[in-house]
Amino acid sequence: MIADALAGKRIAVTGATGFLGTALVERLLRSVPGCEVVLLVRPGRRLDAAERTAREILRNDCFDRLRAELGDGFAGEVARRVTTIAGDVGTDGLGLDDQARALLASCDVVVHSAATVSFDAPLDGAVEVNLLGPSRVAAAMLDAARAYRPAARPLPHLVAVSTAYVNSGHHGDASEELVTQSRYLALPDWRGEVAAARRSRSDADAESRTPARLAELRKAARRELGAAGTALLAERTEKLRGEWVDDTLVELGRSRAQALGWPDAYAYTKSLGEMALGDSCEDLPVSIVRPSIVESALAEPRPGWIRGFRMAEPVIISYARGLLRQFPGVPEGVVDVIPVDLVVAAIIAVAAHGPEVAGGGDGCDPAVYQVASGVRNPFRYGTLVDLCEQWFTERPLYDAKGQPIVVPTWSFPGRGKVQGDLRRAAKGLQAIERIASMLPVRGALAERVSAVEEKRDLAERALGYVELYGAYTETEARFRVDRTLALYDSLDDTDRTDFCFDPAVVDWEHYVTEVHLPSVVAHARVRTSPGRRVTASREDRARAAILSSEPRCAVFDLEQTLVSSNVVESYAWLATRHLAPLARARLAVQLVAEGPRLLALDRRDRGDFLRSFYRRYEDAPAERVRDDAWELFGDLILTRSFPDGLQRVRDHRALGHKTLLITGALDFVVAPLAPLFDEIVCARLGELDGRFTGEMVATPPTGEARALLMERWAASFGLGKESTVAYADSTSDLPMLEAAGHPVAVNPEPKLSAVARKRGWPVELWQQTRGGPRRPLAVSTRRVGTRTPAPRAAAAGNPAPERGRLS
């Protein structure tokens, strides 16, 4: 009896926060009532080890069954039987303190299931955990045993979890033997590999700091954010550098693995991990359990239980959402999947069985148990795809509009073709995206451009899946399970029922359609019902938070946010106001010709642009320009305004919010907008003898300075970040948007549209009134004579009487 064999035993588990580890801990607590469990947990950044045990392990729905069975006794049972020690398999000696070492020494069995299971982990990280982890655990056990264990007591049994795919390079039978005994593997010196991996991190880091690389990264950051200001660009560049180093190490891991015959860094580091373990376990009794692809539970603790979004799941969901139009694979090939509860049962059985008697060699000679389905109960890849297609045809997912998604039919082309197609698609989309992002589009069109980015993202992700997992659908290795089955055969009937790990019990059709797919869909948080969503979207909630009755400070940009016009147009309008038709046409043509240069200058540096452009006002009669500006207001500003935008400003004021306008426009241009804002920050020109000097005496802030201004301004009302609302249209205002508690992208250009989409910022598409006059260039109608004074000017009482006559 397994439960009897393990009764009174103390079993340590690493990797208990993982998928397999959680299931193992639960099974031990539930099905082996006599044992104690010691969990080696790495302290997190915010939670210490014990807190992680409570939150990330015991609160998982895996324990729901046990919790129901024990009722109020659950907490007591856990307290009595579970001990947590802080430790990290990524450091030598596991980082254990003396107390933990003593506890480790007192254990009878140690199950090492901690691993970096991601197939695309950076090489150095995978090496530290997967390659060095098992040997570090062995060393720590030996060390602790020497220090604390009575000599008479036998050494504890290490059960190391590896993967069947250490043998994936095989064609045909892959038997349960150590990698060192394999005739098919070219094994390098693992110590050399460790040294090389560690070196490659610092090499990549050094490479990432070369001027050429930094220039490239800065360019990429600029492409993404535009003129978002020094600080944000620097931050983004640094983030991209970190990502570049990681990507380089991922690529290094993959190419090194493939060069040595493994599909990826995971299998490669796991293989070398077995080797290293063999070299360092001395006389420690060791067993190795090698599962194939571990998937959701067949029955224990409940059918379909799964933790995390693992290997097959993203692929399945992408398929169901219609994103993976093709996937490589050999339909008649075997896809070796094993439910997690079978693996857990096998591990417990191995632990109960104890170490195999050494094969007579010196040092340790671990027994290998493969837990895989391919030989005993093969599951054809074609069958899996058919089942999925059928299942999702009957129960489709729904798109954002509530329409059912039709799943594609895969035709199983070669991996090369699928990869090639996807790569071309991604490149094509990237090219479109690049060209489109250079176009001066905004609003709805920009949204469409940024949707291209999303598509490209999806294509790249699909490519990633194919590159990562494609090999697993094409493996031709057949993982033998002779030793595992022999162990199973040696069990009595009760154990065979309670701890079943014979892959033959799996009815694949039942498993896929009744167990696995329902679980995957439930986990993926996808739409499984038609119709529009009734709950408020994230954007709607954000909008409601903006126009709340709480105090708010709302900051507005002017150009393209409230008004579809710019400083050049205002100038053109004012400058042509008193010109004869021919001169007016000349000025218009001249400005149009200068357009591209002005645009480029504006993009490079807003402040410089304004300074140089406003020189044109030099010598203009100040009083006349100011007077004309009131007409400019109606003829250009209001005509080109977005009524929804002005309404939003007024909504804020109606709620008692403070409103601030920050703009590069000149004071007399924005003066008529004064009633809308508590404060206007704008540019102002110097004046001498009633004429403008052409020099700015007040320079409006741009970039980070706007963010600072917003913060200081809000602070003057005693309000913090959470009360600020910022409305802007371009990435040059990104610092202000980032600094605001409630950022809103208005008619965003493509770059900002992409940023807003990623961050979930509300996007407003405000338009000019339908039917409003549109002119390609703002040239005023010529003004003849003097304008009738508006009330602001005619406030003076009765006019001089002597001139009230006709001449």
């Binding site: 004579g785 508006a790 009330p791």
Partner: protein, 529 residues
Amino acid sequence: MSPRPGFVLEVDRSTPPTLFWHGEGWRLERLPAGSRVVYPPEPLPALEDPDAAIRHALEHPAGDSSPLSALLRPGAKVTIAFDDVSLPLPPMRAPDVRQRVVEAVLDAAAGAGVDDVVLIAALALHRRMTDAELRHALGSRVFDAFAPHGLLLQHDAEDPAGVVHLGLTDHGEDVEINRRAAESDLLVYVNINLVAMDGGHKSVATGLASYKSIRHHHNVRTMQQSRSFMDRHHSELHTSNWRMGRLIAKAGVKVFQIETTLNLDTFPSQFSFLQKREWEWSLRDRAAFHATSAALERTPAGLKRQIFQSIRSPHALTSVHAGEVEAVHELTLADVHRQQLVRVDGQADVLTMGLPYICPYNVNSIMNPILVACLGLGYFFNLYRGRPLVREGGVCIMSHPTPWAFNPVHHPSYIDFFEQVLAETVDPLEIEAKYEESFATDPWYVHLYRTSNAYHGVHPFYMWYWCAHALQHLGQVIVVGGDRAAVRRLGFKPASSLADALEMAEDVVGRDPSITHLHNPPLFLADVT
């Protein structure tokens, strides 16, 4: 040959299709046999020497008033108020009647040695006129003499220092008008009486008043009790204005009223087919009709609007009266009726009308959906004396493209009224109670009214109140060929053809309804028995 009076045609099988205005264009529609088409009278002949007639009127005042020259003396403070851009429609060819009259008054003032003269455009709550519009209305001579010196003003109903409260009428109505006008020794008001509702005490009591004063008669109750507001003696709107006008006189404001009437010669010769009876179209009219229709079909909406807005009407002066307000107005009304009255026997189940591109509030601007409703259900529906042309519970079918389009400078509060208020309710009483005050006092609208060229924030409400009588009276309103979304927002039913609209109307008024078509242009006043 003297001009023919208006008449009612009964449609039979030989009747050619009938012309319907349709915004910046028109439709030819075949009305069912038995339908009646009401045609306006032909234009009366113009006064031969309008300037002489004006001078004569100024010196031979009506009612209890001295001649103008006797009222002017050196050192007097004189204010000349004049109707704004909403009159006449379409704007008339230069010289405008206002220019002729104002020049005559100014000559008289100069002759009498009056120095202190100020001109005020009587905007009420309308938008400020542009310089070009003022120059057109007054002529360059007047404009250049006054505007540069700040002596050409536009009434500002929101200037607290610019208005003065003269008291309450016996009905408790506030009378608050332009301070300069009220404090002048003589206030001369220059009217263009395009339709019967214009002029009388309404000129000063509304044209120079503030919101505080205007709201007493521009409201749902008054409009529902004005049957119609084109009939001064059965119009609560006018009764209220008359009370105010008498209080203004009692307060010592000396008003010298000048009223002018125009003939119905509304469109220039290239559009002469618009004003002719269809069976009398000459070959030239047919050619002009087809050529213009074909050209308009290929013209973008914005350009079409510009073309139509540039039309200047050949309207000619048919009478001018000056003197005491009430006496002048009675004479003027008789002249308006002489030109415009058409006798119609009995009401119909269905009233059809084609709506033109222009109404008083979109001169040089866009006819937005609210203005479409106001033109049809406010102005055209009310062009009656006695009873409405359509029976109670009947259907009104209007033809207009009704684009969902607004002029953001002229009609900012209309945009919000359409998007916010009409989206909630179309019931005039509910709208008045729930929304009027917030729009009327909105500081942003006030700012735009005072400094830019925007109608007052409350103005779209008045447009809707203007429809209140019709909305109360009618069983259904159908718009043919309109933007469906915009028409529905107004609470009306959209129809794609007149035939469809008539089918829909049968659901309300029963099978084989009697139909009356209000044929325009030009405008006329139906005398319904």
